[in-house]
């Protein structure tokens, strides 16, 4: 499997790795069964993403997708971060092999899950349909 230079760069030198204690929003998606778990930590001030960190259990492209998506939302508004699509992540990575596209989906969903957690913690109203529902989704079981 051939990865782009950008994927290899983000995989070997991942940006924003780590965890944030008392983060404003934390999102975790995926499961060990399918071999990918992504966790995103957000610090949000005045609706702006002040800091973001990630932890990923997964293959090279999963680590690269998490790394680049943290860069893509750093300093952005919550709404802008919510609008990040997996397609943009794939483009930013210079493409992903077809079987690895789901890694970019996980990155998008991990960010959404972290923002949802932020909304829940702060009693902010939101449209539930905009967010992934990992507890009731069997995507990972049907590949």
């Amino acid at each position: 499997m051939l990865y782009s230079k950008t994927v290899m760069d983000h995989f070997t030198n991942p940006r924003n790795v780590g965890c944030i204690e008392n983060a404003d929003g934390v999102g975790e998606v995926g499961n060990v069964k399918c071999g990918d778990i992504m966790k995103i930590y957000l610090v949000i001030e005045d609706n702006i993403i002040k800091d973001v960190k990630f932890e990923t259990f997964g293959c090279g492209s999963a680590i690269a997708a998490s790394s680049i998506s943290t860069e893509m939302i750093m300093g952005k508004t919550v709404e802008e971060a919510l609008a990040l699509s997996n397609k943009e992540v794939v483009e930013a990575l210079g493409g992903l092999p077809a079987p690895k596209i789901h890694c970019s989906v996980l990155a998008e969903e991990a960010i959404k899950a972290a923002i949802k957690d932020y909304y829940d913690k702060n009693g902010i109203e939101y449209d539930k349909a905009l967010f992934p529902d990992c507890a009731n989704c069997d995507h990972c079981d049907h590949h």
């Binding site: 932890e55 293959c59 090279g60």
Partner: protein, 396 residues
């Protein structure tokens, strides 16, 4: 430093094999089926290669069929035994859950054609016993097919005992010996093996060539139809250069089994000892009944593809049974068969050595692997959960 530790995938061709092949690309180029002197000269050499293969397997030359490799040999052996069985209304086949896909997928196809396939459970240590085979054999069993040594976890099956059980019960016994041939002493007669598959590139021979040993009197079914080559059982002009290379590599490997085993096993045991020191890691496959060059570990909290990529960047070429390396979401069927849960099956690493590896290379692997495992664990949420007690370790 670049260390090639993926010899179970393929090996570098030996100088002996390359040298043996060269004349058959220019000087001796005839078609063995031709009646003229150029063809007949090639035929003589083909016969010689067949004799060498037979001598090193303990059988007669006419019991050797040259094939395109291990997969074709497995396919033909199984399909042939199934056809023999069907003629006697015997359609029960015994195998194991951790065979190579060349065997498993052929069995799947037969299942769709009405055969009953029974896959024996594999013990946690990667072993299947002769007793299990004995208990599973029925009146209508037409074939037992069990691999000699597992390609992932390296466990070596009690082939002679299984052969004895099959002989006693009058059931055909095939073994996929792709990982064993050239590495372990084989004598098909003494071990009561009816059919055996092997592949040249696993013992420093060329790719695209293999052989099927089939005991006299067992009727083969053709997979490839056409001319009358290989006693009419495998059509297509013989790949003489590759066959000569395989015979030379096989004779060479078989003559050095003791010497190579001693050398490789020592390096293997150093790796096993060293990598056992990585916290929450486990060796897969039996420690004693094990291929001399196989090291196979699961490391908790990380994923195998990422591990392979990083190892490669540090100059170590290895292999993994993780889902991400297979293109599916399921990790290796071998690790599933020995009962490893998904959590840790994704974090597997196979290092397979040959006599060409050196002690310095082992030092390098022992420095790099623990470092890379730690690097990946440091960015793994699963590892954090394990460390902070939110998840229970599978490997203590």
């Amino acid at each position: 430093m670049r260390v090639y530790a993926d010899n179970a995938a393929t090996t570098r061709m030996s100088d002996v094999a390359i040298k043996a092949m060269l004349p058959y690309m220019s000087e001796v180029y005839g078609n063995p089926s031709s009646l003229h002197s150029v063809g007949q000269e090639a035929k003589e050499h083909l016969d010689e290669a067949r004799k060498i293969m037979a001598e090193n397997l303990g059988c007669e030359p006419f019991e050797i069929i040259f094939t395109s490799g291990g997969s074709e040999a497995d396919n033909q052996a199984i399909v042939s035994a199934a056809a023999i069985g069907a003629r006697k209304n015997k359609k029960h086949i015994i195998s194991t859950a951790f065979e190579h896909h060349a065997v498993l997928h052929t069995l799947k196809k037969l299942e769709r054609q009405g055969y009953e396939i029974e896959l024996l459970d594999v013990h946690e240590n990667g072993m299947v016993t002769a007793e299990q085979v004995k208990d599973a054999i029925r009146e209508d069993t037409c074939l037992v097919t069990i691999m000699y040594a597992n390609n992932e976890i390296g466990s070596v099956m009690p082939i002679e005992e299984i052969g004895a059980v099959c002989k006693e019960k009058g059931v055909l016994f095939h073994t996929d010996a792709v990982q064993a041939a050239g590495h372990i002493k084989i004598n098909v007669k003494e071990q009561n093996i009816d059919m055996l598959s092997l592949s040249a590139h696993k013992f420093h021979g060329p790719k695209g060539i293999g052989a099927l040993y089939v005991r006299r009197g067992i009727m083969l079914t053709n997979i490839i139809e056409g001319g009358a080559q290989e006693r009419g059982k495998r059509a297509g002009t013989e790949n003489i250069p590759a066959i000569m290379g395989m015979a030379a590599a096989f004779a060479d490997a078989c003559s050095k089994i003791d010497e190579h085993t001693e050398k490789v096993q020592k390096m293997r045991d150093r790796l096993i000892e060293g990598l056992s020191g990585v916290p929450h890691s486990v060796l897969n496959g039996d420690k004693e009944h094990r291929l001399a060059g196989n090291v196979h570990f699961c490391f908790e909290g990380i994923e195998g593809e990422a591990l392979l990529l990083l190892l490669d960047m540090h100059g170590v070429c290895a292999s993994s049974g993780s889902a991400c390396t297979s293109g599916s979401l399921d990790p290796s069927h071998v690790l599933m068969a020995i009962g490893r849960p998904h959590d840790i099956a994704h974090g597997s690493l196979r290092l397979s050595l040959s006599a060409e590896n050196t002690e310095e290379e082992i030092d390098h692997i022992l420095t790099v692997v623990p470092k890379v495992v730690e690097q990946l664990r440091n960015m793994s949420p699963v590892w954090r959960d394990l460390q902070e007690g939110r998840r229970e370790y599978v490997i203590q």
